[in-house]
Symmetry: C2
Subunit: 143 residues, 2 copies
């Protein structure tokens, strides 16, 4: 037995972060946090919400994603110029990005070794290191 139901988990997260657990926020939090880690765009999450009982506007989805990100519940991943992806995995890790499909996949931090990072310019400190392994469809290279 887990002892904590998913619903309770999502609720806790919201309250710990100091958010009022409104219907919309709770619904989005459940979609985001109840299953495996995931990468979503606002549009995707909105569509998904519409598919369930949850009625929420796209603007609220954007606002909520931004609030969650600011609160450290989500992390934004920038891989395409015109699009924002939000990652439910806020631990230190990296990404595969499949160009074309726009699919993102996690790479655990220990799976990549980044060494010899040069000193950051004076007056700055390293906030984060993002490694993006861009993938292409591997169609036909066998002779």
């Amino acid at each position: 037995m887990t002892g904590i139901r998913p619903y309770k988990r999502a609720l806790d997260r919201l309250q710990t972060a100091g958010f009022r657990p409104t219907r919309q926020r709770l619904g989005l939090a459940r979609l985001l946090f109840e299953g495996e880690h995931r990468h979503v765009t606002a549009e995707q999450l909105h569509t998904e919400a519409m598919g369930t009982d949850l009625r929420v506007s796209l603007a609220t989805v954007y606002n909520t994603l931004n609030q969650f990100t600011a609160a450290g519940l989500l992390r934004e991943v920038v891989v395409e110029s015109g699009k924002s992806y939000f990652d439910t995995n806020t631990a230190d890790h990296h990404h595969f990005f499949l160009e074309g499909t726009g699919r993102l996949e996690d790479i655990a931090a220990d799976d990549i070794v980044v060494q010899n990072l040069p000193q950051p310019p004076k007056g700055t400190r390293v906030a984060r290191v993002d490694v993006i392994v861009r993938l292409a469809e591997d169609d036909g290279e066998a002779a």
Copy 2:
């Protein structure tokens, strides 16, 4: 003596890539390729062009940057969701990104060691590995 004037260099680049050396393209190519390597947005380059004798529309700047990128003369660097940066350095290398100012700085490929890259998912191949070292203003940590 260099033997090749900057103008000629930009012209050669265009022609080698199969572009008609129009006034606009040549002007933009000179702004991009005559000095040191640089990182520009379309907006920046357009503003800069206006500052010189070169009259060119923003749409043409976008088109030109995209054409140059497709031809391998430029490389797009994605670091902020809503903005496209173009890098005149097409060699394998990485970036410092100073959040806040939006400033990009190159890190030579040999200056970072990326090891243990996991196998890419079946049916894909690694097109490129981007390392982005995100920097923050280091205001006051000394006691």
